[in-house]
Amino acid sequence: MKEMEGQYALELIMKGKRIDERNFEDFREIKIEKNIISKAEGSARVKMGETEVIAGVKLNTGEPFSDTPEEGVLIVNTEFTPLASPDFESGPPGEDAVELARIVDRGIRESKCIEVGKLCIVPEEKVWMVFVDIHIINDQGNLLDAAALAAIVALLNTKIPKIKDEEIVRGEYEKDLPVVFKPINIVVGKVGNNFLVDPNFEEEKILDAKLSVSVRDDEKICALQKQGKNEVSMEDLEKMVDIAMKKSKEIRKLVK
Amino acid sequence: MEEVKEKREVVLPGEFIGEKKGRKVGRGAYFEGEKVFSKFLGIPRTSEMEISVIPLSGIYLPNFGDKIIAIIESVELSGWFVTINSPYNAFLPLAEAVEEFVDTSRTDISRYFDVGDVIFCRISRVTKNKTVQASMNDVGCRKLYGGIIIKVTPSKIPRIIGKAGSMVTLIKSKTGCDIYTGQNGLVWIRGENKAKAIEAILTIEKESHTIGLTEKIEKMLGE
């Protein structure tokens, strides 16, 4: 049954076409909404075609890690909520959800896009903890790019609450979260001799190879993760990185 | 007689063992284009007709024609399921086990073979997804009474048997035991001196690749 789901997509791709008549290097239509959740310090909803993801950012105060006593803390979590797909189950995150959260986390963390040095309240005692929670609402493929995009948009629109008498005053804000880069994640897939981006749900099932690349504004690569079941040649990896870097520039233009 | 070369050198998974040259690529080997590679850590065997590799370790996977020792696991309506020291079990149909006509509506076939019975039989069929059938229709196939069974690495069985059966005959004559060796790595032994026979067999398994093993076993059994 599972294999059949991708069969038609595979046939089309081998003829040079995609189910939704896109070119191999086209993303689906992307819709971005900012600040959709008033109770969150920052939030965003991203739709890539029918794939839908909501990211919410909540700020709390807490103790810093002992090896970075004057830096804020970033925590990224993902929920593959059962409402989004018949393949998701209730309960603690499975390995796919954990992997996705960690890849999004690394894209943000390694790019140093959040100036964590500016999130210190009392050195060694109190810093801002930035919780990025990603909720999958509909899985029609390429959750990773949608989640990473939602996360960075949410962070760019996050405001730090005021602190009065050592208490956080929700709803009143002091300043913006200091975010200086816009890391963009691009997943590149390979089917036969064709490279494609933004694989939809059916296409994901028949990819021969899959590489996730996170690229910063200055064209530096911040994170890489090979995904998928098959081996890939070194030449193909180089080609996929090139495609990801090119697409990341386009997608970044959508982010404000 | 077809010449089969069995080089003593050990090959590793992925190691190149020869050009295909129209030969059959047998067990333990795979090919890409004209080049044949080993699937196992093992000993390559090449002949004019076939290239294959015997693994030095690993569990038993059933193959057509193997003579094995099996244990009755369950009694069914028209046959028995038997365990064969593999992730797969085999089915022994009634017709392949009993010569006379049996009216299954009246007879409880456990009178022929019951759960726990040990048999020496042959693998008569293996399908692609490893559904296995066994048969007693062959020379030497029989129920084995009494005795005990030990497990060894299946790929060591040929060494335990020896050239033309020389090693197992040596053990049988020196210990007075009855011994049946199954290609599936099970060895059945019956006799008063079975402890000695078992020690010899386990020594062969452990030191199968060493030189002078036959002499060592002779000495061990001579005492």
Partner: protein
Amino acid sequence: MTKTEEKMIVNGKRIDGRKPDELRKIEMKVGVISRATGSAHVSFGNTVALASVHGPRELFPRWMQESESGIFRCRYNMAPFSVEDRKSPAPDRRSVELSKVIKLAIEPALFLEDFPKATIDAFIEIIEADGSTRVAGINAASLALAHAGIPMKDLIVACSVGKIDGTLIVDLNGKEDNNSECDMAVAMIPTKEKVTLLQMDGVITRKEFSELLNLAKENCKKIYELQKKALKEKFG
């Protein structure tokens, strides 16, 4: 592990005295756990990984069985005493992710179709962690699988590369891991030069990526020779 302000490369030598392209002392031994079908011990300097393989064995529950091919399961775990600050025995998110990527790194080399309906289970335990644990684990699991007589296209070999103080290095130890500008883990099918695992975090240019990939390939070849030697020693 703490970050440090000190320079990681002084006079062309790393903090443990190695040159940038030098691997740590590597030890590999096969057949260390008698109850396992296959097993191996691999250490890179102070990083120690044990791997054991059970199977192929019958897979339960039955509904998990694939009628056309076997399945491969892999678990990566770090012992609580393997790190400086005791790690809770419960599987953490990192171990969950690594179990997944390591399984995907090894699977392409296995002939799963040779044992339908069965399962092969590999377990990796990191006994001591000093950087590049997933790499040591993959090298150990690969040896354990060959030792277990699992049919494979080839061994899988892995190594870590990275960038520190602007220099590209090989086989990162724990301190380097925490203070590097980039660390990258690569696993390959060595004779076919195909990549089965690639994970990188840090900040690198496009060109540095190519250089690191090639550096990984060269060092995987060296580690492969050590794997072959360890297997032949056991059975030769």
